[in-house]
C-alpha cells in the first residue's frame, strides 16, 4: 500500500490500530479532568493561553507608560507607579511571557514532531505548568497591592536592597523568580529527556527538526543559566530579609557581584528566548518554500554554537561599570562572534526561499517580517559589541529600541507566525486569511512606528527608564511618534486576537495537514487525539512527510507491536543518538498530585513573602508530602509488555524501568 500524503498516513494508522491504542489513552473531563490532566497537548495549550494573558497585562502596562511619555512632563501616572509598570513590564515579558509561551509551543509540538505520545515526564510537566501559573499570580497580584517590583527587570543593588527599597517590592521579585525558576528548569530537563529518549525509530540526530534542536539547546541553556540567577535572588532575599551582606559594600559585600551573576544568566536568557523562536521560523520557512531547509547541518551547528558562546558575552551589559580594558576586549570579541551563528540562520532561511517556490501564506508573512526586523535588531546588536559605542549608547533609548527589535521582532513575530501556522493543529480550526493579513500589516507598521523612533531619541541623548523628560531637548517628536505607534500596535494585536477568537468559534474545521508540512505533527488529526499517533512511524529522512518510505511506515509498522504499543498507556523508548528502538515504557496516568504540590509551593512562597515562617514550613510540608506520594514506588499489575527489549544496558528489565518511569 502506498500512502499519498500526511492525511493518508494518519487515516491508515488510525484504521490499523487507532481503536486498540485509544482505549489506553482516556481523556479526563470536567473540573477533575482539567486539574489532573498530564496530556502534553492540553498542558502546552494552557501554557500558551496563560502566557498570552501575561503578555496582554504587560502590554497594557507598556501602553500606560507610552501614554505617560507622550508629551514632556506628563502627569498620567506618578513616578512611583511608573517605576512599577516598567519593572513589571520587563520582568513579565521576559519571564512570564516569552519563555513560557515558547515552552508551550515546545510542550505541544515536541512529542508530535518526534513521533511519540507524550513528554518523558508527564506529571513533572503538569507540575511545571501549575508552578508557572502560581508564580505568575504571585508576581502580578503584587501590582494590586502597590508592591510590584520597582527596580527594573535587572534589579541592580544597592537600589534593590532593603535600605533603598524597604517595602515588599523586591521580595516579590526575588521570591517570584525563584518560584518560577523551578518550573523553567523542570521544563528544560523534560525537553532534553524527551528529545533524547522518545524520538521515533530512525530519527537519528541528523534527522531531528531544527525546531527540536533549538528547543533542546535552549533547555540546556536553561539548566546552566538559571543557577546564577537563583543564587543571586536567594542572596538578595537574604540580604533584604535577614541582613546578610552579599551585595552591601560597607559590609564587605560587592555591588558588582549582582551584575555579574544577573547577566551571567541574563545574556544567555536572550538566546533562551530567541532560539526557540528562530526554531519556529525554521519550521515555517521550509513548508512555505516547498523544499527542505538550506544547509541543515550548518544551521544546527549555528544553533548549538549560539548556546555555548552565549555564556561568554555577559559583560557587554557592563561595559560602562569601569572594568579593565583587557577584560572588555575579550567580551567584545565574544559578542561579535555570536553574531555569526545568527547570520548563518538568516542566510539559511534566505537560501531556502531563494531556492524554493515561495507561498505567501499568513505564517510565512510573519516569518518574512521577522527576518527584516530581526536583522535591524541584529545590526544594532553588533554596535553594542563595540565597547566605545556601547559605552555611549547603553542605558539610552537606543538600547530600548535595539532589544525590542530583537525580542519583539525576534520572538513575538515568530510566536504569532507560529500561532497562525500551528493554529489548525492546536485547535482544529482554520483562520481567516484576510484577517491574518490585516493583523500582520497593522502589527508590522505599529511595531516599527513604536520602536524605530526610539533609536533616534536614544542617539539624541534620552536615557531609558525616565518617567518623564524635560521639553526642548529634541526628544518630543520622537516620543510622540512612539506613542502613536504603540496605539497602532495595540490595535494590530487586538485584530490578531480577534482573528484567533473568531476562528475558535466560527473557523472551518482543519484537515490534518493544511499546509503540506514536512514534520510529523501533520500526520495526525487536527487537533490530535490523546494518543497522538496510533502507529509510531519509522523515520527515513529529515523531512519525513515528504518522504514516501516514512509515509508508508504509518501503515507498514501497524503490524509491529513495538510501533503500536497497544498493551497499555505506553510509549516507545529509543536510543539517544541513532533512535534505535529499545522498549515500550508505561506512562503515568492523570493525577492531582502536581496541582497539590504546586499549591503547597504557592503557600510556602507567599508565607515567606509575608514573613509567616511557620505557614511557609506548612506549605513546604504540603509540597514535601505530595512529592513522597508522587514518588512512592507502587507495583502496577498488567505491565506494558509490548516492549521488546533491544540493545544492552537494560539490566534492570522492563518491569523495573516501567516503575521508574511511571512514577516520574
Amino acid at each position: 500500500m502506498s500512502i499519498a500524503d500526511a492525511a493518508g498516513a494518519y487515516r491508515a494508522a488510525e484504521e490499523a490500530a487507532g481503536e486498540r491504542v485509544a482505549r489506553h489513552w482516556p481523556e479526563g473531563h470536567g473540573l477533575r479532568g482539567w486539574i489532573t490532566t498530564v496530556d502534553h497537548k492540553r498542558i502546552g495549550r494552557r501554557y500558551m493561553v496563560t502566557a498570552a494573558v501575561f503578555f496582554t497585562l504587560a502590554g497594557i502596562e507598556a501602553l500606560v507608560m507610552r501614554t505617560q511619555l507622550t508629551l514632556p512632563e506628563g502627569k498620567v501616572v506618578s513616578p512611583g507607579v511608573y517605576d512599577q509598570l516598567f519593572s513589571l513590564h520587563g520582568t513579565a515579558m521576559i519571564f512570564f511571557f516569552a519563555t513560557p509561551m515558547l515552552f508551550g509551543f515546545g510542550n505541544f509540538l515536541l512529542p508530535l514532531m518526534l513521533g511519540t505520545r507524550d513528554m518523558a515526564f508527564p506529571r513533572f510537566n503538569a507540575f511545571g505548568y501549575w508552578v508557572f501559573a502560581a508564580a505568575g499570580l504571585f508576581m502580578f497580584s503584587s501590582l494590586l497591592f502597590g508592591v510590584a517590583p520597582n527596580a527594573g527587570w535587572f534589579a541592580y543593588v544597592p537600589l534593590s536592597g532593603a535600605r533603598y527599597t524597604p517595602d515588599l517590592n523586591l521580595d516579590v521579585y526575588s521570591l517570584g523568580l525563584l518560584f518560577l525558576g523551578i518550573s523553567t528548569t523542570g521544563s528544560g530537563i523534560n525537553f532534553i529527556a524527551t528529545a533524547l529518549k522518545l524520538r521515533a525509530p530512525g530519527m537519528t540526530l541528523s534527522r531531528v527538526p531544527v525546531f527540536v534542536w533549538a528547543l533542546v539547546v535552549t533547555s540546556f541553556m536553561v539548566v546552566f543559566a538559571l543557577p546564577p540567577l537563583n543564587l543571586a535572588n536567594a542572596m538578595l532575599f537574604l540580604d533584604r530579609r535577614f541582613g546578610t551582606k552579599f551585595f552591601v559594600p560597607t559590609g564587605g559585600g560587592d555591588a558588582l557581584l549582582w551584575q555579574h551573576l544577573f547577566w551571567l544568566f541574563g545574556h544567555p536568557d536572550v538566546y533562551i528566548i530567541v532560539l526557540p523562536a528562530l526554531g519556529i521560523v525554521s519550521a515555517i520557512v521550509p513548508t512555505f518554500s516547498r523544499r527542505p531547509i538550506a544547509a541543515y547541518p550548518v544551521i544546527v551547528l549555528a544553533t548549538v554554537a549560539t548556546g555555548i558562546i552565549s555564556f561568554g558575552v555577559w559583560v557587554h551589559h557592563m561595559f560602562a561599570v569601569g572594568l579593565p580594558q583587557l577584560a572588555m576586549t575579550f567580551f567584545s570579541a565574544a559578542s561579535i562572534v555570536i553574531t555569526i551563528p545568527a547570520g548563518i540562520q538568516i542566510f539559511s532561511w534566505l537560501g531556502t526561499m531563494l531556492l524554493g517556490r515561495v507561498v505567501l501564506a499568513v505564517p510565512m508573512l510573519w516569518a518574512l517580517g521577522f527576518i527584516l526586523v530581526f536583522v535591524l535588531g541584529g545590526v544594532t546588536g553588533v554596535m553594542f559589541a563595540i565597547v566605545p559605542f556601547d559605552q555611549q549608547s547603553t542605558d539610552s533609548y537606543f538600547v530600548v529600541a535595539h532589544f525590542h527589535y530583537v525580542l519583539f521582532g525576534g520572538a513575538v513575530f515568530p510566536i504569532i507566525g507560529g500561532v497562525f501556522y500551528w493554529w489548525p493543529k492546536f485547535t482544529g480550526r482554520t483562520t481567516s486569511v484576510r484577517a491574518g493579513l490585516w493583523s500582520f500589516w497593522l502589527v508590522f507598521a505599529g511595531f516599527n512606528l513604536t520602536f524605530f523612533p526610539m533609536h533616534i531619541a536614544g542617539l539624541l541623548g534620552m536615557p531609558r527608564r525616565v518617567y518623564t523628560f524635560s521639553p526642548g531637548l529634541g526628544w518630543d517628536a520622537w516620543n510622540l511618534l512612539s506613542t502613536a505607534g504603540a496605539y497602532l500596535l495595540a490595535v494590530g494585536l487586538l485584530v490578531t486576537l480577534s482573528t484567533l477568537l473568531y476562528s475558535l468559534r466560527r473557523g472551518a474545521p482543519a484537515p490534518p495537514d493544511p499546509w503540506g508540512g514536512e514534520t510529523l505533527e501533520w500526520a495526525t488529526a487536527s487537533p490530535p487525539p490523546t494518543h497522538d499517533f496510533a502507529v509510531i512511524p519509522t523515520v527515513y529522512s529529515l523531512h519525513p512527510l515528504w518522504d514516501q518510505r516514512t509515509l508508508d511506515s504509518f501503515h507498514e509498522e501497524s503490524r509491529s507491536p513495538l510501533h503500536v504499543q497497544a498493551d497499555g498507556h505506553d510509549v516507545l523508548r529509543t536510543t539517544e543518538l541513532d533512535a534505535e528502538p529499545q522498549l515500550g515504557v508505561e506512562m503515568p496516568e492523570d493525577t492531582p498530585v502536581p496541582f497539590v504540590a504546586a499549591f503547597g509551593l504557592l503557600i510556602a512562597f507567599t508565607s515567606l513573602l509575608l514573613g509567616g515562617y511557620l505557614a511557609a514550613i506548612a506549605g513546604a510540608a504540603v509540597f514535601g508530602f505530595s512529592l513522597m506520594w508522587w514518588l512512592w514506588p507502587r507495583d502496577r499489575p498488567g505491565s506494558s509488555g509490548g516492549g521488546e527489549r533491544r540493545g544492552e544496558g537494560e539490566g534492570g528489565g522492563s518491569a523495573g524501568g516501567e516503575r521508574e518511569e511511571a512514577s516520574a
Binding site: S78, P79, D83, A151, G152, P158, L159, P249, A255, S289, A295, Y296, P297, V298, A320, V321, G322, Q325, M328, S332, A333, I336, V337, T339, I344, F347, S348, L350, G351, T352, L355, G356, R357, V358, L368, L372, V375, V379, M383, V387, P388, F389, Q391, Q392, S393, D395, I456, L459, L460, G461, R464, R465, Y467, T468, F469, S470, G472, L473, G474, A477
Partner: protein, 348 residues
Amino acid sequence: MGRRTARAASPMTSSVRRRLGHVCRAAGAPALLLLLSSCGGAAPSTLSPAGVGARRVAGLWWLLFGISVVVAVLVAVLLAWVMARRTRAGVHARTGSGRAFVVTMGVVLPAIVLAFVYAVGLRDLRDLAVPRDPHALVIEVVGHQWWWEVRYPASGFVTANEIHVPTGSTVRLRLSTADVNHSFWVPQLAVKTDLIAGRVNEMWLRAEHDGVYRGQCAEYCGLQHGHMAFHVIAQPAAEFASWLAGQARPAAVPAGGAPARGLRVLEASSCAACHTVRGTRADGKVGPDLTHVGGRRFLAAGAIPNTPGYLGGWISDSQSIKPGNAMPPQPLAPEDLRSLIAYLGTLR
C-alpha cells in the same frame, strides 16, 4: 596614549561619514535627513559632539551605521526578490543544499566585516583610555539620589549639579556614589561611566568648544532618575580660572535689607540643617552646597530653571515639582520666603 587622544576622528571614519552624508543627501533618505536635522538644536545629541571622546564615538557610529544600512538593504532586497520572483506560478523549488550560499553569506563575509569592525573598536577603545596626565585637572563627582555633588579638590570647594571645565584641556573625573548606582553621561562630550556603590571610577573629558552641555544620570536610580540632570560648562581658561577663584571664596555677607534678613532666615530655619553656605552658620551635609547657588543656571538637578519664581516654589513645596526628593516643604512666612529668595540670589 594621551598623545593619540588629541586627534579627532580618524581620516577613515570621517571620510566614511562624509561619503554617507553625500549619499543620503543625494538619495534624499528622509529618515536620515530628519535624524540629522534634529541634531542641530538643543538636543544633548551624541551626533553633535563637542568633546574628543564623543567625536570619536560619533565617527564610529557613522561607520557602523553605514555597514548596517548595507546589510539591511541587502537582506531587504533578497526578501523583495523572494516575494517578487519566487512566488510565481511557474517557479519550481530547487533541491540543492544551498550550503555554499549560507557559508559565504553567513560566515565568510560577516567574519571579514566583523573583524574589521572589531579592530576599529579596539583602536577607539585604546584611544579613549584615561590619559596618564599628572597635570590634568581632577574633579570629583559624587552621585546622590537625585543630584550631583561636584568637588574641586585642588581648590578645596564643593558645588552641585554644574561642572565648569576649561575648554580644550583634559579633565579627569573621579566618580563615586553616596547611595545607589548612577551613571555619568554627557552625550556631547564623552562616553558614560557608571558610579558604582563601594567603588571609585575614573573617566576623562575634553571639551573642544565653549558651551553648556547637558548631562543626565543614565543608570536607573529610583523615583527621580528622570530628573537627575546636570550641566557641564566649558569656558575659556581665563574665565574658568576666575570662576574657580570665585567659587573658592565663602559667601559674601549681605550689607542689609532683604538679603540680610534672608541670611537670618536661612540660619534660623531648617535650611541650615541640610545645606551648607560657607561663611555662615549653615553647615548641613545632606543637600547640595548652596554657597554660590545664585550663579547656577538650574535648580534641583536640572529640573527647573534658576529664577526667583521657581526658587520660591521649590522652597515652599519641592515635592510637587520633584516628588520623592529628600527636601520637605518649608512653611515660611511670605516675607521670610521673599527675603530668603533675595539672599540666595546674591550668592554668585
